[in-house]
């Protein structure tokens, strides 16, 4: 990468730990945005380095440091972490609150997303997957992003939140700006818009509670029976909005792109449609290799971490795709082994903020793939793929993916 202008690094960062790295920028010709991260490892940059791009932040390359970043909240906080920084930024509930305070909203959300709860949603997930797939199965082609991967999790989110499905496009637009824009004005305006939508939603659910998640959040009470602070309720809605839409979309995009270009893998799943255990084991491997999220932390106080000086409010990125291919933890990490027996991937994070929606996300992927493979014959990439369709950032992925069969 050629430097035209490099912002200065703060004076606590030694020169030999500075690497010019912009995780939003995917160079022309790179077809998989995760490759910009793995390229760092191939280049042999320091395992803990600092880039002055995007407001300046650290990057950890090793699995051991990434899981430490997740677990050690006395150094690596989730409080107001966005990169580049947005000030002011909401204290997202419960993700943006360190233990033990995060327990209040974590305990509220957890029961709604346990494996037991997700099993209860499976029939609805399956019904929706079938309806969406049968809408285009006979046409022999689709743009997987716009016709499935965006619509499916977002429509399910609206359903789980008790919102009308007619608002799908509005929510897709809000999520796209939130995850893709690097323009500070657009990002600030976007957050205001998201909060206005959530405020109206929670007021409506407070007046007319239903059996949906938004109603459960707004009608819940604290330990002393008191209503939760309205700001916290909004911030909890904000978390569910930003965490549940884009991540599933792009995980699906990555997985379907892989299946379209690997007929043996496609057949592997087709052969296991009647063996959910083996099917799920193979999905775990695709979760490992297609980890879309790069997670932010903020340093709580000036300190030394493994001989590196960190300063209070320094930002750190924990890139799950890097952790998931660390050869010190994974046998033949770059090989996609659909029967991989030991697979401690961190695609959903680890520690107290482990993705509360992980079981719902995995179920959406699994059911979608099962119903897809039952209805769509051998499929592949269409010849006319859209140009510049990859993006980096906190969630990596694709804006277009044309498939044909």
């Amino acid at each position: 990468m050629t430097l035209h202008f490099q912002p200065p690094a703060p004076d606590h960062v030694p020169a030999d730990r500075i690497v010019d790295f912009d995780f939003f920028k995917i160079p022309d010709g790179v077809s998989d945005p995760a490759e910009i991260w793995h390229d760092l490892v191939r280049r042999g940059v320091p395992k803990i380095f600092y880039t002055p791009r995007n407001g300046g932040h650290w990057v950890f390359l090793d699995y051991a440091d990434i899981v430490e970043g997740y677990r050690n909240y006395s150094i690596f906080s989730t409080y107001q972490t966005p990169i580049p920084p947005i000030e002011p930024f909401p204290v997202v509930q419960p993700q943006g609150v360190d233990p033990p305070e995060h327990k209040v909203f974590r305990s509220l959300l957890a029961p709604m997303f346990t494996p037991v709860a997700v099993r209860g949603m499976t029939a609805e997930i399956q019904r929706r997957a079938i309806a969406l797939i049968e809408g285009f199965a006979d046409t022999g082609e689709c743009d997987f992003i716009t016709q499935y991967a965006e619509r499916f999790p977002t429509a399910l989110f609206l359903y789980l939140f008790g919102l009308a499905e007619s608002r799908l496009d509005e929510f897709l637009d809000l999520a796209n700006v939130f995850f893709r824009s690097t323009d500070p004005d657009a990002r600030s305006k976007n957050i205001v818009e998201i909060y206005a939508v959530l405020d109206a939603l929670f007021h409506e659910k407070q007046a007319h509670p239903g059996s949906d998640i938004a109603s459960a959040v707004v009608t819940s009470r604290g330990a002393q029976g008191q209503p939760h602070d309205w700001t916290d309720i909004l911030n909890c809605g904000f978390l569910l909005f930003v965490a549940g839409l884009d991540t599933v979309t792009n995980t699906m995009a990555y997985i379907w792109r892989y299946l379209a270009t690997n007929q043996d893998a496609q057949q592997h799943f087709r052969d296991r449609l009647d063996d959910p255990d083996a099917f799920l084991l193979a999905i775990e491997e695709l979760m490992r290799i297609n980890a879309v999220s790069n997670i932010y932390r903020r340093v709580t106080h000036d300190c030394d971490y493994k001989g590196v000086r960190l300063r209070q409010n320094d930002r750190v990125i924990l890139s799950n795709t890097l952790a998931n291919r660390d050869p010190k933890v994974f046998d033949r990490p770059d090989v996609i082994d659909l029967d991989r027996a030991v697979n401690v991937h961190v695609t959903f994070g680890v520690g107290p903020h482990r993705c509360v929606g992980s079981h719902l996300a995995k179920r959406q992927v699994m059911v979608s793939m099962q119903e897809w493979l039952k209805r769509i014959p051998r499929f592949e990439l269409a010849a006319d793929q859209p140009e510049h369709s990859v993006f980096g950032g906190s969630v990596m992925g694709f804006t277009g993916l044309k498939l044909r069969w």
């Binding site: 957890a110 029961p111 346990t114 494996p115 959903f348």
Partner: protein
């Protein structure tokens, strides 16, 4: 097979609920031994002492826990004996 295993003592698996974060990989890999609760989604080990024919699956579940929250141990009759002797002396 179970007759051969008996003299070595039974295998047990123990979960550390402070470490468990509810990934449920153990439940996916070996539902005969592991479940998850409906409140926090944390592991519930219904039968800590599992039969030898499940040993391989339990060991895989333990190795796949991203939090290292599960441990297997073998209760040795010899250990129990020496422990009680020590207490007596």
């Amino acid at each position: 097979m179970s007759h051969d295993a008996e003299p070595q003592g039974a295998l047990t698996v123990v979960a550390n609920l402070d470490l468990c974060q509810g990934h449920a990989r153990c439940e996916d890999l070996c539902p005969q031994v592991f479940a998850t609760d409906a409140v926090e989604g944390k592991v519930v080990v219904a039968n800590p002492t599992f039969p030898p024919e499940l040993e391989e699956k339990v060991r895989l579940a333990v190795r796949n826990c991203p939090e290292g929250a599960l441990r297997i141990s073998r209760q040795r009759p010899a250990d129990v004996d020496s422990a009680s002797k020590g207490t007596g002396a």
